[in-house]
């Protein structure tokens, strides 16, 4: 705590004051002496990576920790001390004076009840409204949080709404009783970037219109910097630094804050690619590629002998990747970017069009030729844990492709696997561990080592960092860039995050609904987007001020 921070607190006294709070589960201490406060009408951000305790502190402020948690210190809402409250008193405060929204809106709404009634429920409970009045207000609130046709939507069930709409419903329910404080725990993490921007816009708007104090928790410093007046940085259960947004972002004092700031995607231009751009034959050539999936035929259709149309995941895609290039594919969920990856590794069969490697159509490969193709093209997957067989050790996983492809006997393959561990900067001792004993970043390194075991020429990376913390993400990207140079890889990098793609790749394709919207040099697309959709994507980026010159230019453009 420094005096500068204290001075920021208005004279009327803080809305929420957290003093020396520690939380432990049995012998494990998850929060150590955490203190911060929030004034009425303020937006305070809490940033930190997984395990930093940022969610725990908010949940202790809401009294939502499991009963096994031991909490010490003091949390005060206005004049009231919260930690000593009984169950009934808590119920009177939650939803009435403090509201909370969560990361995954889909799982936080009761699937069995209409959203209107879920919004109305807190008002019936806290404000004593009749059911009818509460429903009327619920419709008004839905309108308020930007849902069109609110009267009709109020009768919908959660599964009938999109992710963004669900989060808006959560917000409507949380602010229904006009609380003074809203705690938002990673409210946009599960959403597409363009939706994320709109939700943040809504929060800002509510803050301005209603004077709603907001605690915004996020792993994304960029998001916080965009809308918070102050930021609290947490690591391993402790606050390492807090201060005004500008100070944290532009002049981080604590080394960890500095690391965090520098790890933000796009902060650092990575040097990737090694080939000479020019007129040579492309390594990978995709032409007019269309991939479609059958829409499930229901019995009514069957009876009427009607075949429903096929859903086109990819619709006439054409792209080319030169040897040594790093090409990025950007798009939101459902854009078809993963379908492309799966088609290249022959898990989807194209309805039309071709994929060619070195000019050869891969569609007809089989036997030895297919094996050779497998050795040339490899892929790293999104989910670090799910992409490794939970029953095999790291070294087994890495060695398996080597001996299965007959490149070495099993013993030699093991030695080679150990060398690959070195290469992805994992201690050899970790080789004996199974995935669940490794961290996410470590798993992803194992995944990379496995993909590289066959010495491929083309490596497809499908959202390989989206499940990782920013600092880990930065490390993995650096590793990838180094490996690309060392092993002369051509990279097809797939991500939803335009800033990562543009900082890491040389060329970018922007995907939407199975089509390519825009393509061009990475910097070009980021700084001067031509298409409306790309412009929207770029506008949705939350970037830290400062950074490279190019970034500054982007900021100005947005």
């Amino acid at each position: 705590m420094n005096s500068a921070v204290k001075a920021l607190v208005p004279a009327t006294g803080p809305l929420l004051q957290i003093d020396g709070v520690s939380v432990s589960f049995g012998s494990a201490q998850v929060l150590k002496d955490v203190s911060f406060q929030i004034a009425a009408g303020e937006i305070v951000g809490i940033a930190g990576e997984s395990g930093s305790g940022k969610s725990t502190i908010c949940r202790s402020a809401m009294g939502l920790l499991p009963s096994t948690a031991e909490v010490s210190g003091s949390i005060r809402l206005g004049e009231r001390s919260l930690l000593t409250l009984g169950e009934a008193e808590w119920s009177g405060i939650r939803g009435r004076e403090m509201g909370m929204i969560f990361q995954n809106p889909a799982s936080h709404l009761d699937p069995l009840r209409r959203v209107g009634s879920q919004i109305a429920q807190p008002m019936i409970r806290h404000l004593g409204l009749s059911r009818k009045e509460a429903m009327e207000r619920a419709v008004a609130l839905l309108d308020d949080v930007g849902i069109r046709e609110p009267a009709m939507r109020a009768k919908s069930y959660p599964h009938e709404l999109s992710g963004g709409m669900k989060q808006r419903v959560m917000i409507a329910a949380a602010i229904s009783c006009a609380p003074k404080l809203l705690i938002a725990d990673e409210p946009t993490t599960a959403l597409d970037v363009t939706v994320q921007a709109k939700i943040l816009e809504l929060l800002k708007d509510l803050n301005a219109r209603r004077g709603l104090g907001i605690v915004l928790i996020s792993h994304d410093l960029g998001v916080l910097a965009d809308i918070c007046s102050r930021i609290v940085i947490m690591r391993q259960g402790e606050i390492v630094e807090q201060g005004q947004t500008a100070q944290i972002v532009e002049d981080p004092r604590h080394p960890y804050t500095q690391l965090l700031v520098n790890s933000q995607p796009g902060r650092k231009k990575l040097r990737s690619g090694w080939g000479k751009p020019g007129v040579q034959e492309p390594l990978l050539q995709v032409d007019g590629l269309t991939v479609s999936f059958p829409v499930k035929r229901n019995i009514l259709d069957m009876l009427r002998n009607r075949t429903p149309g096929r859903f086109k995941a990819l619709d006439g895609i054409g792209l080319a990747v030169q040897a040594g290039e790093t090409v990025g594919i950007v798009g939101e969920s459902g854009s078809g970017k993963s379908t492309l990856a799966r088609t290249i590794i022959r898990q989807n069969t194209p309805a039309a069009g071709t994929v060619r490697l070195d000019g050869r159509d891969i569609g007809g490969l089989s036997g030895a030729e297919l094996s050779a193709y497998r050795r040339n093209v490899q892929m790293v997957f999104q989910n670090p844990y799910d992409s490794l067989n939970p029953r095999m050790t790291a070294i087994e996983t890495i060695a398996e492709p080597i001996w299965r492809h007959g490149l070495a006997d099993r013993r030699t393959a093991g030695e080679e696997a150990a060398r690959l561990l070195d290469m992805v900067e994992l201690p050899r001792a970790l080789g004996e561990r199974k995935p669940r004993q490794l961290s996410g970043g470590q798993c992803q390194r194992v995944g990379i080592a496995r993909a590289l075991a066959l010495k491929p020429r083309l490596l497809i990376a499908d959202e390989i960092t989206s499940a990782l913390d920013v600092t880990t993400q930065a490390q993995i990207l650096e590793l990838l860039a180094r490996l690309q140079r060392e092993r002369e890889l051509t990279l097809l990098y797939i991500s939803h995050d335009l800033s990562v793609v543009s900082s890491f790749c040389q060329r970018v394709y922007v995907f939407r609904n199975g089509r390519i919207v825009e393509t061009g040099a990475a910097q070009e697309v980021l700084t001067r987007p031509r298409e409306a959709y790309t412009q929207e994507l770029v506008a949705s980026l939350h970037r830290l001020p400062g950074g490279s010159a190019a970034m500054a230019e982007t900021q100005a453009g947005a």
């Binding site: 119920s91 936080h108 699937p111 009938e160 009514l300």
Partner: protein, 309 residues
């Protein structure tokens, strides 16, 4: 609409399969219904004459064609032994079985609910441990052994309950069927508890429960309005399976307690090789199973909007 059509299609397929399989199975079992009908001292000519009168002398496929033709016209056949329509026999024997099934449900569901709730309140607590062990013990007891022991103890030694039959009035039914219903319920309760307890614990930790709490809902309200409805769904499906199983699976308990229900009818018909009765009963059980599943689907759809199409 979707569900209805799907179930009807399923029913058609299942019925067709059941018809063929039952027909073959029943006719392949050694033993001759004519012998059972005519009695021990009948001579071979008599037996042959009886076989002929039932068409049993025809080739199997021809018998099946006749049988299938009758089925299509809605006739599930006539008991060879009693010379009565199978439907009449089912009409006679179905009531004790239905009553027993309903009774079992009444005996099993309230304690299952109560115990599952008590158990899920504090997973791993003392109550939970005891309920779990007693439950597992309940599942490990062979129903027929329990039946024998209970009828000896409560029926014979203490004389509290009749050891057989069905009785005449409603109260009589309750009284006569108490032991059979109890022996079945003892096995059924733990199965329900296990399922409901797991679902309750799972749903109690669900995100939407946290959300409800964050909106200020009290624990009672959360339990009754949020956790329970969500937890009931998987148990409802299991419940459907059990009901179907009960209606078709009362053979042992009805044998032990001499309840004149469908299980007894089935055993008697099997022992007498009364082909049409066995086939008709099996068909009826199959239709019941599909029907119960259908009702469960409808109920699920009533509770869960996601199950509606």
């Amino acid at each position: 609409m979707q569900i209805v059509l799907k179930r009807i299609l399923q029913l058609v397929f299942v019925l067709l399969g059941i018809c063929v399989v039952t027909f073959l199975l029943v006719h392949m079992v050694p033993g001759d219904p004519a012998r059972v009908i005519a009695g021990d001292r009948a001579n071979p000519e008599t037996i042959e004459a009886i076989r002929k009168s039932f068409g049993l002398d025809q080739p199997l496929w021809q018998q099946f064609v006749t049988y299938a033709g009758n089925l299509l016209s809605g006739d599930i056949g006539q008991s060879m032994r009693y010379k009565r329509p199978v439907t009449a026999l089912i009409g006679q024997f179905i009531w004790p079985t239905l009553f027993l099934t309903g009774y079992v449900i009444c005996l099993a569901v309230p304690p299952a609910l109560a115990l599952a709730i008590a158990s899920a309140r504090k997973p791993g607590g003392l109550a939970d441990q005891i309920i779990r062990i007693v439950g597992i013990a309940g599942m490990a007891i062979p129903v027929f052994w329990l039946g024998i022991m209970m009828s000896r103890f409560f029926g014979v030694a203490l004389g509290w309950f009749p050891v057989s039959g069905y009785g005449k009035t409603f109260v009589d039914h309750l009284h006569h069927l108490f032991l059979p219903a109890l022996s079945t319920a003892i096995w059924m309760v733990p199965v329900l508890i296990q399922s409901l307890r797991a679902a309750l614990i799972e749903k109690a930790g669900a995100d939407f429960v946290t959300a409800a709490r964050a909106q200020g809902a009290g624990e009672r309200e959360i339990f009754w309005r949020t956790i329970l409805p969500n937890a009931v769904l998987p148990t409802l499906n299991l419940f459907g399976v059990i009901i179907a199983f009960l209606i078709g699976g009362t053979i042992i308990v009805e044998t032990v307690y001499a309840v004149p229900g469908l299980g007894s009818l089935m055993i008697n018909a099997l022992l007498a090789r009364d082909y049409h009765v066995v086939q008709g009963l099996t068909l009826m059980f199959a239709v019941t199973t599909v029907g119960v599943t259908f009702v469960v689907d409808l109920l699920s759809a009533l509770i869960d909007p996601r199950a509606r199409l």
